[in-house]
Symmetry: C2
Subunit: 211 residues, 2 copies
Amino acid sequence: MSKAERHLALRESLITIGQSTIAAHGLGGLKARDIAHAAGCALGAIYLVFPDLDALILAVNDRTLAAIDAAICASLDCETAAASSADPGRQLVLLSCAYLDYALAHPRLWAALFNHTLPPGQSVPDDYRAHQAHLFSYVEAPLAALCPNLDVAARTQAARTLFSAVHGIVSLGLDQKLSPIPVEELRNQLAAFVQLTATGLRHACFPPVAP
Amino acid sequence: MSKAERHLALRESLITIGQSTIAAHGLGGLKARDIAHAAGCALGAIYLVFPDLDALILAVNDRTLAAIDAAICASLDCETAAASSADPGRQLVLLSCAYLDYALAHPRLWAALFNHTLPPGQSVPDDYRAHQAHLFSYVEAPLAALCPNLDVAARTQAARTLFSAVHGIVSLGLDQKLSPIPVEELRNQLAAFVQLTATGLRHACFPPVAP
């Protein structure tokens, strides 16, 4: 193995260990010393691969984005979704339910996407943003079908707003923060709400209502 | 001062100190020793008033619920809101914007409502739940006007789902978790989204869409 290959192999191994640690114990369970021990390397070797633990967490979160992307693709049947015959309201419901299902199956990896905060002054790498944007493109397609007169900027923002709404329903629902709600009822509420948004979009177009 | 009066005065003082500590430093900044010092009492005296710090945090959060309630009342003009002439879509927009404004003005007190978790086995006191329910009643009234055929249970749940959606838009927007969004744009997105939900409700009724 060349030095570059060893570097890459260690990088992959550290991400995999980080991923299983976060999956089992959450972000709070991630300690450099334990990761080095599990990887069979010196503590300092981690910092030859990642500048700090935040960079390792971002790499784990990037894998989580890829896993959500794959889960969405599977549930939408991405080939079919591209066909113009697909019902955009139904597509938005499938997307939201795939998101709920991912959060249910991988609660700590999912939470790490939102609970991890970079130190002040640092910003998320461009390719991480690009993977986020790719996920939002699944929301943008049905929005464009429901509301063809939205320009690209408005559609981009509307997809993020709709995602935030879905995320709020999923996260307060799973945290049982309001009143306890069984998962099947949460799924029904989420589906009904998203369908309602689609109905609203069909009748009135998205942005221009002033508060 | 009788013993009961002293007990009550210390309780109020501890809540006020807890409130200003959380407002300044967040939940993580709350330490029993500092609170006792600020209240001029012995550390043990706190535990004559509250069984543990969680109970003190719940009392602070209960005050936050009352403050949000007052802010909503002021923005809705509660007398007018009760009049049947009020536009329910507009009322939902006003409610959402009042919620955003409270979160903007008191970010750490607002976050403490969601970041505080009771130890396993403990549940939130009934009067705290009642104050939460009173806040949701502001959402339920316009929902009932938009969708008169919802029964009480469905309307209760729909109000919590709509609130969760609004909370998601507010919290991911203020955290700048997706892409940075200026507050005025966030307010416009929130208002447009809630108006859209009201439009959807006018055209299709809330729950019964299967996923």
